[in-house]
């Protein structure tokens, strides 16, 4: 969590671009929510021409971003939702809007209980365990009781 899927034209981004964009996305979650860095997974699908159609027409200058949020939920919190989307737009703008791509983003929220990383149950939001994972930047065994 979060899991980002970026669908883009096959030559839209160099490896350096992909890393810089992934770092920008990651910074959103570490700066605002204190998530462990390694929680943020960005998967690029660099697609050949005529893979994506918008309104029934080929869209070969289009970036479509699909995000699953797992570790934090902001359902029914309109101000947080608007802020979240605003931050996403700011974080992606240099690689998407500023390069002249068309784009669209949507986020889904999936159940925190149905999520494991390295086979481990992630610690509760804001817990000592989560802070430990953030500090180590990897999934390590933690004291569930102390961390809750």
């Amino acid at each position: 969590m979060p899991f980002w899927q970026v669908f883009a034209p096959e030559n839209a981004f160099t490896d350096e671009d992909k890393e810089a964009l992934a770092e920008s996305i990651t910074s959103m979650y570490t700066d605002f929510v204190n998530l462990p860095k390694f929680y943020v997974v960005v998967s690029y699908h660099m697609q050949p021409p005529n893979s994506t159609y918008v309104g029934g027409k080929p869209a070969n200058n289009f970036v479509r971003i699909l995000v699953d949020h797992i570790a934090r939920r902001i359902v029914d919190q309109p101000e947080l939702q608007a802020l979240c989307m605003q931050i996403i737009e700011t974080k992606i703008a240099p690689w998407v809007r500023d390069r002249g791509f068309d784009w669209e983003v949507h986020v889904d929220e999936t159940p925190q209980e149905l999520w494991r990383t390295q086979g481990l149950t992630p610690p509760a939001a804001g817990s000592d365990g989560e802070r430990l994972w953030a500090e180590k930047n990897r999934a390590v065994p933690y004291d569930v009781v102390a961390a809750s």
Copy 2:
């Protein structure tokens, strides 16, 4: 919204097929719900052999369709849900069933509040803003107050 992902064998569809199927899918949302055409995004994943397995066996004649609905929700409306699925089946049949593919479709509904297109908050369902976007067939600034 909606965002369709079509997983198909790599030679299942020509570019002409992909465009015609995307147009058929788009017509469902413009004819029945008056959505702006450009809301409808179809992303094709043309997969090499042995990419998809059904019941543990390679399924190289199988089309799997995954749809995210964002702009409209029909949870707890069984008649609308059945109608929606029936229309989907009708719209895809000429390229899927009628060509002898096996197939499966499912739809998820994701939060409307966590969605932006071209960096803009889409207008409310059925609003003047949405009608403006439909008429222009693109995201343009709109009067949020007048449109609500």
Copy 3:
């Protein structure tokens, strides 16, 4: 249902591996929930290097698994949720953990009413119709009334 997407490095799995892992995943649903085998669809996305980034860095030894559950829901059943994730981990371990990959899994639950296979409405959970589909291992017309 269920629909598994496995994102893996392009040479992580042979065709034999993919089939064996898909069979292992399938066994989870047939052994524990008596689902028809053909309900279980596994789609592999074998990705070139520098497709996935974890914490902003290229993750070329990483397997990311995304699962949609449709036919059964276990929201608000913490024990079943924990059991489900434990079984998933056990079923994938020989191809993922035991081979030294890093990995992460999450499951979403999507509306059962918005799902069709071969154009048919799947029978109710635990119904005679579902048992018939399991026995035939394919979608066949069934008696909705008798099956409910």
